[in-house]
Symmetry: C2
Subunit: 135 residues, 2 copies
């Protein structure tokens, strides 16, 4: 994967912007999208993520395992920037090192009052800019 | 569907905010998300949409036919609002009334220089707020 895109993904995902989303799908191809913002890209290929609500997203991941994160930053209506990070679920913990690590992060956010249910672990399969549109 | 949500969907989709996205999926459950903002909710159940780039989104829709639009509005990092509109593809036109209607809209946007490829027609299957999280 492109090094610049990997660095951009790390910067934007780890900022935990309020506009971070995760799109997922069930086995009947019903697509869902949810705001999922408490996460950490812990190395070039791995993202860990706090799951405290997001019941449909969680059920979808357990069924099909695939999704895409998007961080979309807009400057009013003038311009946009961001990243798309394609992932596959490779772990789901309710205790242990990753669970404690993401719990610490959750406690520093606006969602601190929600009990952490799961720490989801994703392998990054691709990273793309927000748009491939060319003139 | 909840009347208030229908009205909110109409208002937010028809504003064509730069932060409007469409999430789709291929038959192997690979999920994609793209900024897709030139669209019009023409009645309580129907959205027409300009397709000028978005090759992967288009291919996904032809394969599985399902997706979800999201309009996410943030007030800095303080708060978020928006809507999720779940859809199924029911039409794909390269001419005709809907095609001309969305072409007129496209010509008034920042994407006016891109030739319109398709007018996609979606049936709305569900509308949800951006978050169902409850304390």
């Amino acid at each position: 994967m492109d090094k610049a895109l990997v660095e951009k993904a790390r910067e934007l995902l780890n900022a935990n912007y309020i506009s971070t989303t995760l799109s997922t799908v069930d086995k009947d191809y019903n697509v869902n999208i949810a705001v999922i913002s408490v996460l950490e890209m812990i190395d070039d290929e791995t993202v860990i993520c706090a799951r405290f609500g997001a019941d449909r997203t969680y059920a979808n991941l357990k069924e099909t395992g695939k999704g895409v994160f998007m961080v979309l930053l807009t400057d009013g209506e003038k311009s946009k920037d961001g990243i798309r990070v394609y992932v596959e679920l490779i772990g789901d913990y309710t205790e242990g090192e990753y669970y404690e690590r993401i719990k610490e992060r959750l406690l520093k956010t606006r969602y601190a009052s929600f009990p952490l249910k799961n720490c989801l672990v994703f392998k990054i399969t691709d990273i793309l800019p927000v748009s491939l549109l060319k003139k």
